[in-house]
């Protein structure tokens, strides 16, 4: 993975000093709340219901075991011994003290980490496929460009105070796992006819209050120009995006209002001035960064292991976990493993400091000391030998990290919701846990098959409910908490936005509503048909009728 040189380290150190000074000026009254707000947000610090929340950046979801141990230490020393992995592949601490955040940032800087631009109206953490570099369907490993984008966007002076937040995702695989169509800019890498790396550029996607899938602004962009082309897009947005209404300030609204043709015209006109300007990347810089993301020193192995096969034969629990949690790998004899942060009945995406240390140990022993965070809020060991998988399972199981529910109904994607977040209209974690408890029968869960259930506690859609096969949105009606249900949303190449099935429900009705939706699916499904396919084939009416009958 990428390793800091003295330039990276200096920038992060200078950021710690800067934020220490800003915090001190706020605490002694030299900065008002309004003046301090964007400064703390651009350092990931929110003022929440009970305490501040600090969002720590995990660039494109890649972590070393050393970094994860540091996060565990920070969770113990400055928080309550746990952290929450978010849908933006970051880590959130729910109970830090404002006065101590500069110290937390200083601790992070010791392991090449920070909280830069994890919130605020600026370019946020670049996200990508959690299987980057190891997925069999990968065409181009997007991580080198993701790192180049990270550096370029860090304290970009022109784009430090945009109308609203700005999210960029990169993907280089056949199956999109980075949801490029739901980002302000989505960059899809491919090889063009001349076998050169090129980029399909999506713009104006986003979830939130007004969910919109992105449009293609450029079908073919030579990779050298990725930074200047992004500059052209963001410049047009910075000048013309709405600043008078926070709910209409995202780039998607500008693209929608202008229409993609006109928006493209303006961007292309701007790009004529920026093309080949100094931020144009050259071969040497790409090579320099790409060398941090070369293949691991794999052993030459067969793609079969008898002890592994026997364990599957003889151990039903192991076999059912393997089915959900073990994924194919580019390299023969290796697999990628997802550790579930979704044990039934606990907050989805949370990990205790003890679990973090166990996972760091597993990474050191079996996966070259590296980890990934997925936007589905699980942790991934990317490079595990077949013969080690059983050992990983035993250890993971002993620490509640091996619930065999990856990709199933109880692998719920969920924001912190009203328990923690001051933006939320309603709680989300208790809804998630009550659904998990209602579907605790593993055989039934496996029979239901692949299903993505997403919960957001408000319109801001941190739980990505619009693209959940089943989406749940917390809404406020006259001061009480209600839940609106959508079905038919999907992430990936054939992404879609879900349709609301009808009036919202009370919290205690939710497990029953989900059960009804599942019953309709089971009754009508064709063999091998997933929930989403049945919804797409039948439309929402049979589901709606049964749920509201």
């Amino acid at each position: 993975m990428y390793q800091y040189d003295v330039i990276d380290q200096t920038i992060v150190n200078e950021r710690v000093s800067q934020f220490r000074d800003q915090t001190a000026r706020y605490l002694n009254g030299k900065l008002t709340d309004d003046e301090f707000r964007p400064l703390r947000l651009q350092n990931g610090l929110y003022i929440q219901r009970h305490a501040p929340m600090l969002r720590i950046a995990i660039p494109y979801g890649l972590l070393s075991s050393k970094q994860l141990r540091k996060l565990a230490d920070i969770a113990d020393r400055f928080d309550r011994g746990y952290g929450h992995f978010s849908t933006r592949q970051n880590l959130q601490l729910n109970w830090p003290k404002l006065e101590e955040t500069p110290d937390i940032l200083e601790e992070l800087s010791k392991v090449e980490m920070h909280a830069i631009q994890t919130s605020g109206n600026c370019v946020r953490n670049i996200t990508t496929d959690q299987y980057a570099g190891v997925a069999p369907d990968e065409i181009i490993d997007p991580r080198a460009i993701a790192e180049i984008l990270r550096q370029w966007s860090t304290f970009h002076p022109e784009f430090s105070h945009l109308p609203r937040k700005f999210k960029i995702a990169v993907s280089g695989s056949k199956q999109d796992r980075a949801i490029v169509q739901a980002h302000d800019i989505g960059l899809e890498f491919y090889y063009d006819k001349e076998e050169k790396m090129a980029i399909r550029v999506w713009v104006g996607g986003g979830l939130g209050r007004t969910p919109i899938l992105g449009s293609i602004i450029r079908e073919h962009l030579e990779w050298h120009h990725v930074l200047t082309y992004c500059e052209a897009i963001i410049r047009v947005y910075n000048l013309h995006g709405r600043r008078d209404n926070i709910f209409k300030a995202r780039i998607k609204i500008l693209v929608k209002n202008l229409g993609i043709e006109e928006f493209r015209k303006q961007v292309e006109a701007e790009w004529l001035h920026l093309k080949n300007s100094p931020n144009t990347i050259n071969e040497n810089e790409l090579k320099r960064v790409a060398k941090f993301f070369t293949a691991m020193p794999y052993e030459k192995l067969n793609d079969q292991d008898s002890t592994y096969d026997e364990a599957i034969q003889n151990n039903r629990a192991f076999a059912s976990w393997v089915k959900r949690s073990v994924h194919l790998h580019k390299q023969k004899g290796y697999r990628t493993i997802t550790l579930s942060l979704k044990p039934h009945g606990l907050a989805p995406g949370d990990a205790t400091s003890a679990q973090m240390r166990i996972i760091a140990e597993l990474a050191d022993l079996y996966s070259f000391g590296e980890l990934r965070v997925s936007h589905e809020q699980n942790l991934i060991l990317a490079d595990v030998k077949l013969k080690d998988i059983f050992k990983v399972w035993e250890k993971a199981k002993a620490h509640q990290l091996a619930t065999p529910n990856i990709g199933l109904l109880t692998d719920i994607i969920c924001c912190p919701g009203g328990d923690f977040c001051s933006l939320a209209n309603a709680k989300s974690i208790p809804i998630a846990t009550s659904i998990q408890e209602a579907f605790d029968d593993l055989d039934y869960l496996h029979d239901i098959g692949e299903l993505e259930l997403n919960i957001s506690g408000c319109m801001n859609a941190c739980g990505h409910h619009h693209v959940g096969h089943i989406g749940i949105l917390g809404v406020d009606k006259d001061g009480s908490e209600w839940y609106q249900v959508t079905i038919g949303g999907k992430q990936g190449n054939d992404a879609s936005i879900g349709t609301v099935i009808g009036p919202s429900f009370a919290a205690d009705e939710m497990p029953g509503v989900i059960k009804k939706l599942i019953n309709v699916y089971i009754e009508h499904r064709d063999p091998e048909e997933r929930f989403i396919d049945t919804v797409r084939r039948l439309g929402i009416n049979p589901f709606k009728e049964y749920v509201y009958a």
Binding site: T10, S160, H273, R288
Partner: protein, 202 residues
Amino acid sequence: MLNSQLILNQSIIQDEWTFVPLPNANEEVKKQAGKLVLYKLTGESQPSELQINETVIPQTGKIILPLRVYLKNRNTLQARLKNDEISLWFATHEILEPLLASEKNINVFPLIAVFSERFQDGRIFTLGNLLRTRYQFTNILRACGDILQDQLFYLKRSGFDSYLIKAGKDSNEALKALQSFSEPYQGAVDIKNPVWKRKVRS
């Protein structure tokens, strides 16, 4: 220590220019989402004819005029312009096209000031960049309005070399912010090349 809110490059200096404001316009009240909210339009409004006509232009000394007031009185101001007494200011939501149409060379002005009503309004950074890179303005580029210490580094990188710090804020302390980062990553107006073109990296 000089008692002034004005920074030029790395120093605090006395202001030799008189800023000429536009007379106040009436604030607009708009109905939105069922609630009556009061807000100043940030993107839509240009100075009104009434505002332009009622602006009092001081007859002597170095003055910074509203862009639209200058354009309206361009002919009568030429002698003073040649005498380096006339500079311009405009707000972040104003468009520059009328100026570019009227002046072939904007370097006739010794100073251009961009007025930002709210420090969160990031258009000022793009405007600074465009004035320096596309319109080749080489004289003093001043940021004024809600200008605070913690945005100075970004302003400097976007081409500004002068900053009128908001009244009540400590300009001496603000000076420090110009040194926040020693080697920024990306190329911008002040340092054109990205760090990987400036330094040998491992």
